[in-house]
């Protein structure tokens, strides 16, 4: 019986394809794409202020609400954080990536590979929690600063407006640190891979033509590493845009996009607004991706 079925499939490759592709495709279309479509649809509904019910009519009310000053400041805040995190990641990631590619012995390269991948695959929430521990007022970082007599510096930092807060663990600076830490491997790997693609001969040629090391770095290495940087920035930017866990643990509870989404769909019952808030980062990312593609980032992935 099975054999007859098997022969049927052998003689009818289209049927076999349908059997293989059907379940996964069906799942993805119905569950995933369907959900995305439902979300987009939701963003065109609106919440009636009086009844507290969602009105299922096509309207741009919700988007108008989204583009109000209060909400836009949330978006702005998130975007700025995403940008600074991206920049910070690049600065921190580069030395490691560069050293690993240029100077590291084979053994060291392997060790560094593990050193970067291990955090990547470790538990996200534990890593965030670890920073909450470390950034606490009485925690490790303060102690560290105190050891070097730099407590004053820390206080000064914390007293800065916007960036500071009552303690590192509830300040934007702290947020910046944690975001950067969590996404760091995502930035290191693409930079490494684009640096690896620079043939040694180019660097030798540059030196041969009279360029000092720093000039070689500025004019040859940096531009060639750029696709990797842009590729990494896709991750850091996008992940920061959409994250709500970290701001709710570390931040000072002024909302970011992620948190706004969570609160609007939850207690406020304003699913359309939450949906609109979600659509915005998606749109931002689409533009970012288009720009990144132009900069050659996809070749570095």
């Amino acid at each position: 019986m099975i054999r007859r079925f098997s022969t049927y499939l052998y003689n009818h490759p289209a049927a076999l394809l349908a059997l293989l592709l059907g379940p996964p495709l069906g799942w993805m279309l119905a569950i995933y794409l369907g959900s995305l479509a439902a979300l987009l649809l939701q963003s065109f509904y609106y919440l009636d202020g009086f009844t507290g019910q969602v009105v299922r009519e096509f309207s741009l009310t919700t988007y108008r609400d989204l583009f109000s000053a209060a909400h836009m400041s949330i978006v702005l805040k998130t975007v700025i954080m995403a940008l600074t995190v991206t920049l910070g990641s690049v600065v921190i990631a580069f030395p490691l990536a560069y050293y690993s590619v240029r100077y590291a012995s084979k053994r060291l390269k392997v060790m560094l590979y593990f050193a970067v991948m291990l955090p990547l695959w470790s538990s996200y929430i534990i890593r965030v929690y670890a920073w909450k521990l470390m950034l606490a007022k009485e925690g490790m970082v303060s102690w560290f600063f105190a050891q070097f007599g730099l407590s004053g510096v820390l206080e000064g930092l914390l007293s800065l407006p916007i960036v500071g807060g009552s303690s590192l663990s509830v300040s934007n600076f702290g947020l910046f640190l944690v975001f950067t830490y969590i996404w760091l491997p995502y930035m290191i790997l693409p930079i490494q891979s684009s640096l690896e693609r620079i043939p040694h001969s180019l660097l030798d040629a540059s030196g041969d033509l009279g360029a000092r090391p720093f000039q070689t770095f500025r004019r040859i290495i940096l531009p060639m590493a750029l696709p990797g940087v842009v590729a990494g920035s896709i991750f850091t930017f996008s992940l920061t845009l959409g994250d709500y866990i970290i701001p709710s643990i570390i931040g000072d509870s002024t909302p970011f996009i992620g948190m706004a989404v969570y609160s609007y769909q939850g207690t406020a019952g304003n699913l359309p607004l939450a949906a609109a808030f979600t659509v915005l980062p998606m749109v931002i990312m689409v533009f970012y991706l288009m720009g990144a593609r132009k900069a050659g980032a996809f070749d570095a992935l």
Binding site: T7, L25, S35, Q42, S123, I126, A130, Q265
Partner: protein, 264 residues
């Protein structure tokens, strides 16, 4: 030049330290005698919190839920991912490249998008949020991990093997059982482990698709608002780090081996 090296090397090691110190710190805190703050250095060391954590029923419930969700999601992902990989490997059909893109979307888009999309759709469909809604969410983004692994394995395998098996009298099912499956088994294990890890650790989508249940990450998240419970949280964190580090090492090591073999 040498000078630059040393400066760079120091910077590099600083970054490595930056990446790894948090793990050690969090593990250290499982032993601190301080029960309510995060004072550093720890005033004393003790093992008593391990006992306390052990007796926390809610922690065990969360852990058990995480394990069950991860297991079932992995199974679903294994089936769907293998089917999709087989389809893409075997046939040239319209929209072939789109499949890979479609499967990677749930992971590529921010978790919040996937999370709220699923929540909205499930709400519309009138579903209650329970164990199965969590599984549906997790399976959706785990499929791609299995798919990539199995597809890569298919592409490295010898197509004549299937023909040889059929030539010797085995039909499609027997060929799968005796020839295809043994050959992809290592990819299934690797993909399965990755999917399990992904599901186990996931927070964002889970908060949107869960009802009252708490998986372990959600439990940890909720613990953060309970300062008195910190010691227990610390112990749990300790175990998570210890238990996950070895399998990750092993999986990375395997990956490394594969890469070296296929470059020969």
């Amino acid at each position: 030049m040498k000078n630059k090296n040393i400066g760079l090397a120091i910077a590099m090691w600083a970054v490595v330290a930056f990446l790894h110190i948090p793990f050690f710190v969090v593990m250290l805190y499982a032993f601190t005698t301080d029960s309510s703050t995060f004072t550093f250095p720890p005033p004393g060391l003790t093992l008593k919190w391990f006992g306390v954590a052990w007796s926390r029923a809610d922690m065990w419930a969360a852990l058990s839920l995480s394990v069950r969700v991860a297991t079932i999601s992995t199974v679903v992902a294994l089936v769907l991912g293998t089917l999709a990989a087989a389809a893409v490997y075997r046939s040239r059909f319209f929209g072939r490249e789109a499949i890979s893109f479609l499967l990677v979307l749930p992971i590529a888009l921010p978790g919040i998008v996937t999370g709220i999309a699923l929540r909205a759709a499930m709400g519309e469909a009138g579903m209650t949020f329970n164990f199965w809604t969590i599984v549906i969410g997790h399976a959706t983004f785990c499929v791609v991990v299995v798919y990539n692994n199995v597809l890569a394995r298919f592409r490295r395998s010898n197509p004549s093997l299937v023909e040889a098996s059929m030539d010797l009298g085995a039909d499609g099912w027997q060929t799968f059982r005796y020839v295809v499956f043994p050959n992809i088994s290592s990819a299934l294990v690797a993909g399965g482990m990755l999917a399990f890890a992904l599901s186990f650790d996931e927070v964002i989508v889970t908060t949107f698709t869960a009802g009252q249940q708490a998986t372990l990450p959600i439990w940890i998240f909720s613990q953060l608002t309970k300062p008195r419970d910190r010691p227990v949280t610390n112990v749990v964190a300790f175990f998570v780090v210890v238990v996950t580090t070895l399998p990750i090492f092993w999986a990375l090591f395997q990956n490394r081996k594969f890469e070296e073999q296929s470059s020969h």
